[in-house]
Symmetry: C2
Subunit: 251 residues, 2 copies
């Protein structure tokens, strides 16, 4: 198991155990395991929650419960409060992305961090927001900004995980063959152009150089592997052979 | 209504109408409205879907249905196929973030783009992946990478939306008072230090400069507003007055 030093996810007065389960799944997707619940309305250790967690049982089983938000964050040194509405409080505001950078920095210093999420319908109370250092607001469509609780957890956890991904996407799916050396590609070009000359496709002399370049560029863009070039050789060969066979049959 | 030129979201053979509803909600959260369904198992125009859509009805109502993936993407010029598993195909790979940049670039050129999502249990078939230009893989916890369909839609849509957010987070919640001019802060420092001198808190002469700087820095970090500084003046005044009253009462 890969280990992570991610923030605690603190659900304040969550209403539905399904949402706790879906939040647990989103957490584990992004390598977070420290789930804390403040006065949940339903027990989270029930079938509906486990079904929603879809295999992230250990996050649910490890969840800790607290009576108050203050108790749930007692050991944390950096706390964010997620809120969609403007609270008219004087407090710095992060997006999930900017918060993720600060969380990584805190983790690097060994400082425990956490993020507060309010109940589904109402969001966090102002007194809970006042317990946090920083407000966290997800930039979404201003005309339709109501995010599901678990989706909000997912976006925060996702950004935290992305902030730790050091390598970019691989240029090609892994395990796939790399592009062939150019000599193989040029070998195919020559094969193709020989046949195109023979069949008359390139018969207009003044247009030939441009047409050849256009055809070559088209295949260049495909970043062909050696195997694919072999396939193309076969295709050209078969097309030509069929044409010849047909010509011979007709001739 | 803000208008967006975002990618089409194409759900291939989705199994549950709830997931179509939740995907519609995630789309509208991020300003996407072009939902396409390929051979859905259930009708998406039913209560369970609308309940899950939580107000994003117009995305559900506007969804178009196709028999095949090829028909669903016929008008698109740039197509991504989401997949968690390595398909051993020779195809470039994007993350939601790198894809978002390419989608924005395509939109700027007026090129219609779309993203394919497979059925909940199995993901896209290889033949559907082969219809796409690019594979899209979400970097998540390698030990637990199973993303819910709607959550995968959310992450793709979220990154698309973020790529168009030009302004960074505001330093303070909007509507709040800005930090006070420094003369007000210094005025409070002088008030506080005068009282601390008088009560003897700063009596050790060689330590005084350091103590004063530490106290000043502590309040500097709070980026106090004018109103907050007034409150602090009041607090110091009241504490001192109480002490004096008490001293007079005792004296």
């Amino acid at each position: 198991m890969t280990t992570f030093q991610g923030p605690a996810i603190i659900l304040v007065k969550p209403q539905l155990s399904e949402n706790i389960g879906t939040a647990a799944r989103a957490m584990l997707n992004c390598g977070l395991t420290d789930l804390r619940l403040v006065a949940p309305r339903e027990t989270w250790l029930q079938d509906r929650a486990f079904a929603a967690a879809s295999g992230a049982d250990r996050v649910l089983l490890g969840a800790r419960v607290f009576d108050t938000t203050a108790e749930a964050i007692a050991d944390l040194r950096r706390v964010w409060a997620t809120t969609a509405r403007n609270r008219f409080m004087v407090k710095p505001v992060d997006t999930p992305r900017t918060a993720a950078g600060a969380m990584r920095a805190a983790a690097a210093e060994g400082l425990a961090a956490g993020v507060l999420f309010g109940p589904e319908r109402t969001g966090l109370e102002n007194d809970d927001v006042a317990l946090a250092d920083t407000v966290l607001t997800v930039p979404v469509n201003p005309d339709y900004s109501s995010l599901n609780l678990a989706q909000c957890v997912l976006l925060v956890a996702y950004e935290w995980f992305q902030a730790g991904v050091t390598e970019g996407p691989k240029p090609m799916t892994k395990g796939a063959e790399p592009p062939a050396p150019k000599e193989k590609l040029v070998g195919f070009f020559e094969h193709l152009e020989r046949e195109l000359d023979e069949c008359g496709f390139l018969r207009v002399v003044e247009k030939r150089p441009t047409m050849v370049r256009n055809i070559r560029n088209m295949f260049q863009r495909a970043h062909l592997t050696g195997q694919e070039i072999q396939t193309l050789h076969g295709i050209v060969h078969e097309l030509v052979t069929y044409r010849r066979r047909k010509a011979e049959g007709e001739g």
